[in-house]
């Protein structure tokens, strides 16, 4: 399940919804706004969902997953606010952890979101590009 929304999300409810038949492990990542300035998030509607869906599909090919939830917020986000949730369910912990990291690395480098912080556009980090390269190109 992929959602791009301005509203906050309920991490516990999203993780609970992934538990079910055969699920022994849910790995999750939640990103939050650091610093005092808050963030504004812009995205490319349509391409964002498409790009995320493509990477979820790729993750499902690579690992035996039983569920994936990705929620990414857009618009104005105050300090401390949730930005993103990636949660992955599997029978065992290793595929859940691997797929969760894989999806985060691709969200950071391929999903068309842009952060603005205190009037400045946040610069992309080379370290994020390097992290995504671990998985080799799709």
């Amino acid at each position: 399940m992929i959602r791009v929304q301005s509203e906050d999300f309920d991490v516990g409810a999203e993780i609970a919804a992934l538990h079910g038949d055969g699920v022994g492990a849910v790995a999750s990542f939640t990103g939050a706004v650091r610093g005092d300035a808050g963030l504004t998030l812009e995205h490319y509607p349509g391409m964002t969902e498409r790009e995320i869906a493509r990477h979820v599909e790729e993750a499902r090919k690579r690992w035996p997953l039983l569920g994936v939830t990705i929620v990414h917020r857009i618009g104005r986000l105050e300090p401390g606010a949730n930005i993103v949730l990636v949660a992955v369910a599997s029978a065992h912990r290793d595929p859940a952890f691997r797929a969760c990291e894989f999806l985060m690395d691709y969200l950071k480098t391929k999903a068309p979101f842009w952060k603005r912080e205190g009037g400045e556009w946040v610069e992309a980090k080379a370290s994020d590009e390097d992290a995504a390269k671990r998985w080799s190109q799709l």
Binding site: G31, L41, E42, H43, Y44, G46, M47, R50, E51, H72, I83, V84, M104, L107, K108, T109, K110, A111, P112, F113, W114, K115, R116, W121, V122, E123, A124, D128
Partner: protein, 83 residues
């Protein structure tokens, strides 16, 4: 052809979207950029250093030598910073 601009590209050009009539010589993203740069100084500034930009054609990341066609949606934006 629909052109989309995001983040500082959108801000510098003062618009997020425009429609253009591409010429028949416009075969690739690079050709499109050359055509835009020739049109107006604002574009020349935005496209001065293409390494600062990324491009998507019909919502797929592509390189600057990728082909473009008359009905394509072409988006220019800085490297993404979500997540």
């Amino acid at each position: 052809m629909t052109l989309l601009y995001f983040a500082w590209v959108r801000q510098k050009l003062g618009k997020g979207q425009e429609e253009i009539e591409p010429s028949s010589e416009m075969k690739t993203v690079n050709d499109l950029i050359a055509w835009l740069v020739a049109r107006d100084a604002e574009y020349a500034e935005v496209f001065a250093d293409p390494s600062r930009l990324r491009v998507a054609v019909n919502q797929d990341h592509v390189s600057f030598d990728a082909p473009v066609h008359a009905n394509d949606e072409v988006a220019f934006f800085p490297p993404v910073t979500g997540g």
